[in-house]
């Protein structure tokens, strides 16, 4: 297990190399001079030169990359072109809302998809099967932002149950915090609920006909206990792998949802910075998201081997 963990950590090195190259290249993909693009058409030669120096654009590209990586490793993500504040500080200041919305969605996903999956297995081969598949298919076919618009129309405009937009920090009252997060988190969760429930259901269906389940039934264990204790706990293992993909979906979704609900998180920061052509922040946010995603997937992999001792990675 320790050996596997160490090897898995080493495998992150090439991944992070590729990630850093992609993030670094973003600013160099811009057609023309990035400094010119950031400052606009009427910028003076002098200010362009100054910005080029600040961004290190006057050096050869390999040197730029090396210096950039060196800075990142020491925690220096550069400065915002727009506000001149350090990028890392800006990003850290935006973490709270994004973290809140992601956590609330994950809880919603689990609370809703687990009972649905169990019900679908319990009543398998009935009308619930096609219904279940249709709903999970619909889940991956609806654009998040449109679903959000419908929910706002239904539960914030027509029936004013929830706020249309906005974010209250947890420190200002946990109830208000949660109240403002319900709609946006539910939109994020909705897409994933179908996927997670389907994975759980398929995992459970696979073990339903296994010998040990038959043994349990044969010795007279109640069907509900068979389902909960034997079938469900075994289905949890393949489902952990979905968590990685789920986090990717959530992080991608927060960009849209935060912008729509004016939640001042990282997603909104990314979109605002794209409008402002604030490349150091764009790079910082994307790098940050990629690192979070890589770490989550690492933890999922390790959890996987921990949950299922049959799996041995050699």
């Amino acid at each position: 297990m320790l050996q596997y963990t160490i090897r898995r950590l080493f495998s992150l090195i090439p991944v992070m190399c590729i990630v850093s190259i992609i993030v670094f290249m973003i600013i160099h993909l811009t057609p023309g001079n990035p400094a010119h693009l950031i400052l606009g058409e009427d910028a003076s030669e002098e200010s362009i030169k100054q910005l080029e120096e600040q961004l290190g654009l006057d050096q050869p590209i390999v040197m730029q990359y090396v210096n950039w990586v060196k800075d990142i490793v020491t925690g220096d993500f550069g400065q915002s072109v727009y506000s001149s504040e350090p990028v890392l500080d800006i990003i850290l200041g935006r973490l709270g809302p994004t973290f809140s919305i992601t956590i609330v969605s994950i809880i919603m996903i689990l609370v809703i998809s687990i009972p649905i999956a169990i019900a679908a297995v319990w009543k398998r081969n009935t009308l619930i099967d096609p219904l279940f598949i249709s709903i999970s298919l619909l889940g991956v076919s609806i654009p998040e932002f449109w679903f959000a618009m419908l929910l706002v129309l239904g539960f914030a405009v027509s029936i004013p149950l929830f706020p249309v937009a906005g974010y209250i920090p947890m420190a200002d009252g946990i109830f208000q915090w949660l109240y403002h997060l319900i709609l946006p988190s539910f939109v994020l969760a909705a897409v994933e609920i179908g996927l997670v429930a389907r994975m759980l259901r398929d995992g459970m269906l696979e073990s339903v006909n296994q010998d040990y389940i038959r043994t349990a039934r044969a010795k007279g264990v109640k069907e509900s206990i068979v389902l909960m204790k034997h079938v469900f706990s075994n289905a949890l293992i393949p489902t952990t792998t979905v968590i990685g993909a789920m986090v990717a979906g959530l992080l991608g979704g927060t960009v849209i949802i935060e912008t729509m609900f004016t939640i001042p998180g990282m997603g909104q920061l990314l979109v605002d910075s794209i409008y402002r052509r604030d490349y150091p922040i764009i790079q910082g946010v994307i790098l940050f998201i990629a690192v979070v995603y890589v770490i989550v997937n690492l933890l999922v992999d390790l959890l996987y081997t921990f949950l299922d001792p049959r799996i041995r990675y050699d």
Partner: protein
């Protein structure tokens, strides 16, 4: 039987949307950009089936026209990602030495949520249809590589391929005539899903105002404009969204259908499951 009907339904929906959007200028007298301030935000009627928008433009006509960009972007992205992914996947699966290099790059790219990678690329390249296609194609190919590689590894050591090798067939011949035809089904299935995901991603980019030029009617652009009128004119938000859902749903259903049709294993399992449960309840 039911499944075949579902596939036909999906193909029917897609054909209908494609034909409607291609021939739109033939059967409709109104242009999608025809502005009439006296007709602002009218609710759906026999004259304007889906109502009108804040410039008095007909939403039905615009929704139909908007399918063009979505279908083109989706189709081209699907082709680009499938082509790149199949090519790299074949090489990674077949040549051990190339495998580790290609898969490290793929792993690195998969470290970004696809939408965020596309967002960053469009931010750098600028928002035009061509750049969106490049960005989405780039964001979606690594998944295809993974799937193709896994499929190649499965069929690579089958006997007939060994036989082909001993007869002196070149690697190129083995890859294209023996391996590729055997792994077509996962490629087609994933290609269909990529088509669907690309349409969703393009709509999201346009909705955020980072996508296709806002004057071009696309579903994402229309919804972006509709957002402020949501309480005044809900139809403005509803119909373009339905366009997206219908198209993407049809593609996803088709992908599922193709997978079921190609996968004899799934069918057998289903039968077995049925049999067992029938025994149980008998």
């Amino acid at each position: 039987m039911l499944k075949r009907k579902r596939n036909l339904l999906s193909i029917g929906i897609l054909l209908l949307i494609t034909i409607a959007t291609i021939t739109a200028s033939l059967w409709s007298q109104t242009s999608p950009s025809f502005i009439d301030p006296t007709l602002r935000l009218l609710s759906p009627s026999s004259e304007h089936w889906f109502g009108t928008d804040h410039f008095g433009r007909d939403i039905f006509i615009r929704t139909i026209y908007a399918a063009r960009v979505s279908l083109i972007v989706g189709a081209v992205v699907a082709v680009v990602a499938t082509f790149l992914g199949t090519f790299t996947g074949l090489i990674a699966g077949y040549y051990k030495r190339a495998d580790s290099i290609i898969m490290r790059i793929v792993d690195g790219m998969l470290a970004f949520p696809a939408l965020i990678l596309a967002l960053a690329l469009v931010a750098a390249l600028g928002g035009s249809v061509a750049n969106i296609i490049i960005a989405l194609g780039f964001a979606f190919w690594p998944i295809m590589t993974r799937i193709v590689r896994a499929a190649v590894l499965q069929v690579k050591n089958v006997q007939y391929i060994e036989a082909a090798k001993t007869t002196g067939a070149s690697d190129f011949v083995i890859l294209t005539t023996y391996i590729l035809p055997n792994i077509l089904s996962p490629i087609i299935v994933q290609g269909t899903f990529t088509f669907a995901r690309a349409i969703l991603a393009e709509a999201a980019l346009s909705f955020l105002g980072i996508g296709v030029n806002p004057t071009t009617p696309t579903w994402g652009n229309m919804l972006q404009e509709a957002q402020i009128y949501i309480s005044m004119a809900p139809w403005f938000s509803i119909f373009p969204g339905l366009g997206i859902v219908l198209t993407v749903l049809a593609l996803n259903m088709l992908g599922d259908g193709i997978r079921d049709a190609f996968d004899p294993h799934a069918k057998k399992q289903l039968k077995k499951r049925k049999k067992v449960s029938q025994q149980k309840y008998a």
